[in-house]
Subunit: 454 residues, 2 copies
């Protein structure tokens, strides 16, 4: 490993320049205007894979954004790691809250600011460079590697399942490696062994054919804004529990040993509250914040809109109102079943004086892994060598639906070796990546491939 | 009156052309881009007043749009009528729903379509022409007249109260005449003897400093969209009654004779429902739709907004949410008291996990007139002569705050002689005015001035 580590040391500033190139491409997958940028970004990944020494590199078009694949299979008799990541990024709105341009990577105080820096371009580059450092310094890797890097993670990976299902032979491997999760805290390397699932809905209400004058008509018709507020408000009780019948039926509680692990983590609710700028924390009664994020399902109103929202006053009763509502799921909640429960409940509580349209959007299963799996143990040793610390075992409140897909379609376990930090503003303005972690993330990645060898 | 009526007959098509000229001016008072158009419209009114024979015409600048004044005081010993109207109009959005341009007056099926045709330019012109027909055919009016025509009615008449208060001598009169209300129905001339008042608020909630990833943080912080929905939902009980403590304290119930009058009106709830395209009517239990609009206060969410409202899905917990909430008031609710009750209640029910900002916007008192007042009786006779039918006595759900102002500052009663129709889309696309009513509105106006003479 010495030559590998020396290579990493020597090429650090080039690695950073390449990260910047990657971050400059505005690969916003949910915006039709950025379609060509997303394609350009896919080709950037292709070039990277060729450059780091992959033997075979391919770009697979889909009905949405392309999937990039690359492989190096020169380590006979050794296990094969399938690396999964994504090159697409979240939208940048609200743009005026960014201190520097979202696609103008800028370094301030040891952090690089740009959309995608933490989620997930920075973490993709770390693993590319971990592989490169083996291949370029030794001429070989200790294990076999396959890269699967998609461009639709931020829009629900609409074409990935089908691609995986129809490329089982190509993607054959022993374990999946994913770097798309944060560490528990700065200086606390973490292996994520659980993720929440997701179901996402749009609800539209229509009251009347046109907006109405609130004086001339107010009092005789339902106000869709009001009806929507009432429906939403009824979805939780005052303790923050979701009131949809059957919603909690299949929720898997934490094991006693998990509870012990969780209680040992260095978590300060007051520091957490301050970091968010929240006047107070608020969550389901009877659970602490880590439990609320990791092992309890949630329901959120991601967006709501109706009527006059400009400056000033307009005395209107809107014809329509809309809400985007999503639920985070935990093991063993089935997204299909929860979506059915939600839809049936929403239809039941919608007043008869409005027309209701319910649209199901993307979703995914929650996931939990056995901590004693050899690949997870290899990741643990790699972290210890990279960051000089044994990692903690954590869960993540977000969803990486592809983890469930790998388990179901390919029968593969996943190792979630995240190098992000929880305050790096993934999905928010001023997304950033810690450059210390970028450096030691590359080293940890290189160690992981070594530790995976038999 | 014969010569007056002959004059009206003879000049009908010119009157219509002058209405069109008036309607072509885009005097949208809430849009800074239209400021010069609003001024041009004020000068059009000045020219009209001179042309119909006013002895003194003046334009009074304000910090917003100007007020136009004109008078003819040649009827010694006779009462003075102060006519109030407005030359400004509502915004035209959404423009794509207009069949013909909002400022290209177009006649289809005996109706003229343009923004302002019903509210209020058409009704202003009718009264100008009623006066002109006396002066030009007889050389005099049976009573004295003062015209007060403002350009800020659609933005809350911000400068009118001060103008009236500082021009009490100029505006001295016996009665105010206002034509800015609809008839009860086609062929049912109506005198409006009651209006609702208004208070209007904006509510802003802030949960955290930035939008948050709903996976990584969901479960530990309040969602401002959700908190807003809960606050709004709690403002009414399931019977549609407003739950703000003290809200109904001062509500003046209908008298038994008013109830009898109301029950005689030709109102078909099913026809009303269909005209709105509503699946069902919805209002406060225990009251019929006319009572709900005329004599019961309401609370409406005029606008609501927070989080991701674009196409597709974004898994975000918004940092902020906003709602515009207004209340229609009835006699004897005091807007100041109701605004205080609302604000105190909103502050009480806001969760401690959000920062709340409450902004008071414009408001106005409700109003009700004694039906047996001589001027109202004169209007009743004028309608009977003009339209060949005794008018009905109705109320209006909207607000004309200036009616309260005339009562409070000048001590004057108002006569609301409306010539619009309830389906003429005031404040909505495809605003229109019935040309039959335009013709007989002018005749009725001319009769009113005659009937007011002693």
């Amino acid at each position: 490993m010495d030559r590998v580590l020396q290579y990493i040391e020597k090429n650090q500033s080039r690695f950073l320049e390449e990260l910047k190139e990657f971050l400059r491409i505005p690969s916003v997958s949910n915006n039709a205007e950025n379609k060509r940028d997303v394609l350009r970004c896919a080709h950037y990944v292709v070039d990277q894979l060729r450059q780091i020494g992959m033997q075979q590199v391919e770009i697979f078009p889909t009905s949405g954004h392309p999937i990039v694949y690359g492989e190096w299979l020169g380590a006979q008799g050794q296990p094969t790691v399938l690396f999964y990541g994504h090159y697409d990024v979240q939208p940048v709105d609200p743009l005026d809250l960014w201190t520097s341009g979202p696609f103008e990577p800028t370094i301030r105080n040891g952090e690089i600011f740009a959309r995608g820096s933490a989620d997930d371009k920075g973490q993709v580059i770390m693993n590319l460079k971990g592989v490169e450092s083996h291949l370029k310094s030794q001429g070989k890797l200790p294990i076999n590697i396959k890269f699967l890097i998609e461009g639709e993670e931020e829009v629900g990976s609409a074409n990935l399942d089908e691609f995986i299902a129809s490329h089982k032979e190509l993607l054959k491997a022993d374990v999946v490696l994913i770097s798309d999760t944060p560490m528990f805290d700065r200086g606390v390397p973490s292996i994520c062994y659980g993720l929440r699932g997701l179901v996402y809905f749009q609800i539209d209400l229509k009251g009347t054919d046109s907006d109405l004058h609130s004086g001339s008509f107010g009092g005789t018709v339902i106000n869709p804004n009001f009806a929507l507020a009432q429906m939403i408000a009824s979805l939780k009780n005052p303790d923050g529990q979701i009131t949809i019948p059957g919603f909690y039926d299949d929720v898997q509680p934490m094991s006693p040993s998990e509870k012990v692990e969780l209680s040992r983590l260095p978590f300060d609710p007051e520091k957490y509250r301050k970091s968010l700028g929240a006047p107070a924390l608020f969550g389901e009664k009877g659970y602490n914040p880590l439990e609320q994020i990791w092992v309890r399902p949630t329901l959120e109103v991601n967006g709501i809109c109706g009527g006059f929202i400009g400056e000033g006053a307009k005395t209107v009763i809107p014809a329509k109102a809309m809400a985007k509502i999503s639920m985070r799921l935990v093991p063993n909640q089935d997204p299909e079943r929860i979506a059915n429960l939600f839809e049936a409940h929403i239809r039941r509580i919608a007043p008869s004086a409005v027309e209701l349209t319910v649209t199901r959007m993307h979703g995914g299963k929650a996931w939990v892994a056995p901590i004693d799996h050899p690949a997870i143990q290899a990741a643990s040793r790699a972290y210890e060598k990279g960051f000089g610390k044994r990692p903690v075992f954590v869960r993540e409140g977000g969803s990486i639906p592809v983890v469930a897909t790998f388990a179901e379609i390919l029968g593969l376990p996943s190792v979630l070796m995240g190098i992000g930090l929880p305050d790096e503003n993934a999905h928010a303005p001023n997304e950033k990546l810690d450059l210390y972690n970028f450096r030691y993330g590359i080293i940890t990645s290189a160690h992981f491939f070594q530790e995976m060898a038999q």
